[in-house]
């Protein structure tokens, strides 16, 4: 008798965790940094914006219209725990600077360069992206070419140290992603950099 009651309680607990939510479900979840994004859900009836933590819509089997639903963090864990646990580690970026007008890394950047290999070793299937950045002196085509040249140079350093060429992507952002915001046509050594992203 007690066992039967315990079984019933277990069933109720299970329903509490997963039950009542229809098959098709979308939930916005807070990121590790606490930032909450947004998703628009467009169905046969119109559009719903989900932009709050655990904001959700659901639809039943065969339904083509969704409706808002209350979802808790515990329910998200019960339904999506395995999927979320499979998310890859977030990419990590390492910033490199060169001594002025040379191809010699600064002392700090030599350390960062070594940290790249430690990060690669921590990951089961790492690849790297080498991205060149410039300051705002010059045109976009000029800076894109310069940034690409710098990125290719660092790619060469990585290959010399044993990374497989097909695990390295080069990219050139030119003056589109300034580390230190400046007006156009401004010399800024801190913006002339190469970033190695390990992912």
């Amino acid at each position: 008798m007690i066992a039967r009651w315990l079984g019933l309680l277990g069933l109720i607990a299970a329903l509490g965790a997963c039950g009542g939510i229809k098959d098709n479900l979308v939930v916005v979840v807070p990121s590790a940094d606490g930032h909450v994004g947004a998703v628009t859900v467009t169905d046969a009836r119109g559009q719903t914006v989900l932009d709050q933590p655990y904001a959700a819509v659901t639809a039943g089997r065969g339904d083509t219209a969704t409706e808002r639903v209350e979802v808790t963090a515990a329910q998200v864990e019960a339904i999506f725990g395995q999927a979320r646990a499979a998310l890859p580690q977030p990419p990590v970026a390492f910033r490199l600077y060169f001594l002025s007008d040379t191809n010699q890394l600064t002392p700090e950047s030599l350390i960062a360069f070594e940290d790249v290999f430690k990060e690669i070793a921590r990951r089961p299937a790492a690849d790297t992206v080498v991205t060149g950045h410039t300051d705002t002196v010059g045109t976009d085509p000029y800076n894109d070419a310069l940034a690409l040249e710098r990125a290719k140079y660092v790619r060469g350093l990585l290959i010399t140290r044993g990374l497989k060429p097909d695990s390295i992507t080069v990219a050139a952002r030119g003056k589109r992603e300034l580390l230190v915001p400046t007006p156009d046509q401004t010399h800024e050594p801190r913006n002339r950099r190469v970033e190695i992203t390990v992912r």
């Binding site: 065969g62 499979a86 050139a172 589109r176 992912r199």
Partner: protein
Amino acid sequence: MAATVYSRSGLRSTLLAMFFVALASPALAADPIGQIKTATGSVAIERAGARQPAAAGDRVLQSDVVTTGPDGTVGITFEDNSMMSLGPDSSLALDSFRFDTTTHDGAFDASLRRGTLAVKSGYIVQQGPPGEAMHVRTPAAVLGVRGTEFVVRAEAAR
């Protein structure tokens, strides 16, 4: 040559020529759009009508369909640093993917055919018009991704 890498007064015309050569190389349909970073249990990729087992380190291409078995999970990082992962008994079609590493312009469309999916958006969403650069389709709705993290479950097909 190597010593001139950081000299702005260097070979400007050479750099320009290299840039236009780079522009002239179109992305091929067979170019990888992402890489499997985590895999547990049974994971497969359906590509051009053939189904092959997949493991961490494998590249994924546009039009691949990634599936997991009853014991399977898989996590993929895409070229724009967006990430998707599947729980067990799931199927995700990577319908189309385009990403410019210089401008970060791009478009990403995927369809969750069944199962559970977790998504973290990347550069394509940061750069594109809000909710229009990346879409995830389910049997019931089309999701326009405005940012960061969400989860989706789709009914199994009948």
